[in-house]
Amino acid sequence: MTLMAEMNQKALDLGVPLSVHLDLTYRCNERCVHCYLDHDDHGEMTTEEIFGVLNQLADAGVFFLSLSGGEVLLRRDFFLIVEHARKLLFNVKVKTNATMIHEKEASRLRQLGVEQIQISVYSHRAEVHDAITKLPGSLDRTLRAIRFLKSQGLKVSISNVLMTGNFADQQGVIELAKELGVAYTLDPTITPKMDGDTSILSLRIASSELKQIFRNEELVGDMAEFCAPPPPPGEDVMNGFPCSAGHTSCYISPYGDVFPCVQFPLPSGNVRRQKFLEIWRHSPQLEEVRSIRARDLTTCSTCSHVGTCTRCPGLAYMEGSMRGPSTADCEKSFQRTGILSANMLRKARAGSAGPLIQIQGPANPMPIPAALQEANPLSA
C-alpha cells in the first residue's frame, strides 16, 4: 500500500474529509456548450464567509482543496482566498479556463505554492475550441496562460471533455499537451444541467466512440487487462462502498450548500446555517450515503461488473436512486468488456429490448441508452 493509500484508509477509518471541492462562483466568461451550470450569481458566499469555511475545513482535517467554478478568476478576491487557503496549509488545486491568467497571475500562483492548475482545453484548433467555449480567441488566451504557468514551474494539466464537437480532435489535444509538457485527462462525462434540463446530453459521444477510447492503449494501458471480463466479486467487493463521496470527500457550492460530490447533487446541509463538521458528521443524507455497501445496491449487486464497474452513485442518484445503476457506467462496462450489465439484461427482460436487438446487428453495435451520461474521467 502506498503512503497516500494508507492515509486515505486512515481518513476513512477516522471519518475525516480528506478532500473538499469548493466552487467559488458559478459565473463564467465562457459559455461552454456542455456546461451544466446556471451562471447567474444567486448570492455567493462573501470573502469573510469563505475564510470562515476554510478555517472550519482545516480544523476538520481537510488536506486536499480544489478551488473551482464557474471561472474562479472572476472573483475579485480570488487571490485573497488562495492566500488564506495556503496560510492554512491546504494542498490547493485550481481549476480554471486560464483566459484571465497573465504573467502576474501566474507568478502569484507560484508564489502561493498552489500544487496544480487544471485547465480545460477542448481542441488544438481554435475554431473547434472557441466554438465550444463560445468565446472568440479563448484557445489562444488559454494556451498563452499555460505557457506563463509552465514558465513559473507550476504543475499544469489539461482537462479535455469529450463530446460530439471535439471527439475527432482528442489526439490533437494529446499532442498539444505533450508539446506544452503538461499532463492531460480525457473526460467523456456530460451531465444534465442543474435545473434538470437534459438537452445537453445530446452532445455525448457515441457508444462506438467510447469503445474506440477503451481500445486506445495510450489511454488505457494494457488493453487486454483493461477489457478483460470481470472476475467474480468476492466478499470484500460486496462489503465495499462505491467511491469517496461522503466518506472522505465532499463538495461545497458558492452558496454554501454541501453535497457528497460535485456530481452527486444530494443536498446535505449549508455552511451558512450549520457548522461544517456538524453537516459532515451528522447530516442524515451523508449518513445514508455512507451506509450503502455494494451488497445493498439494487440491480448492481447482482451484476458481474460490480467489482470493476466505475458506477457513479451521483449519476445513479440523478437517474432516480443512489442505490440504483448508472446507465452511463453500464455502457462503459459493456463497451469495455463486451459483457451486458445486469441493468441492461433487466431492461431487456422488462420489455425494452431495443438495445439488445440492436447489439446483435453488426452495423450499430449499441445505441446510447436514453439517459446516458458518462462518468469518471479517464486519466492518462
Binding site: 475525516v16 488536506f63 508564489q111 500544487e115
Partner: protein, 103 residues
Amino acid sequence: MAEKYIARSTAIAARMLGGEMMIMSAADSTFFTLNEVATVIWQAADGRTPLSEIVTGKVCQEFEVEPERAQCGTERFVDELSQHGILLVSDQPFDSSPSLETP
C-alpha cells in the same frame, strides 16, 4: 557542533491526521508522514528556537529519549526534510519563509 535553527517552509501542504502529520512538498510533490516525535520537532521549528533546545526541551522530555540518540535522530530527520525543501535550516535565527501576503 555549531548550533542550527530550523523553520517550516511555507511551500508545503500539511495537516494532522490521527496523530500523524501529513506533508506534501509543493516543489516536487513528495508526500511524507511524520510520526509523533517528528511532528513535535516539526511544530517546534519556528526558526528561532535552537535545534539543541528542541531536542532537549521537546524530544527528550516528551518521549523520554536519551539526548544523544535524540540528537542523532533529529539531525537525520532535519537533513532529509531540508533536502526536499520542507524544513529550512540556518546557523542563525531566521524568519521562516517569504510572506504569502498579497504584495
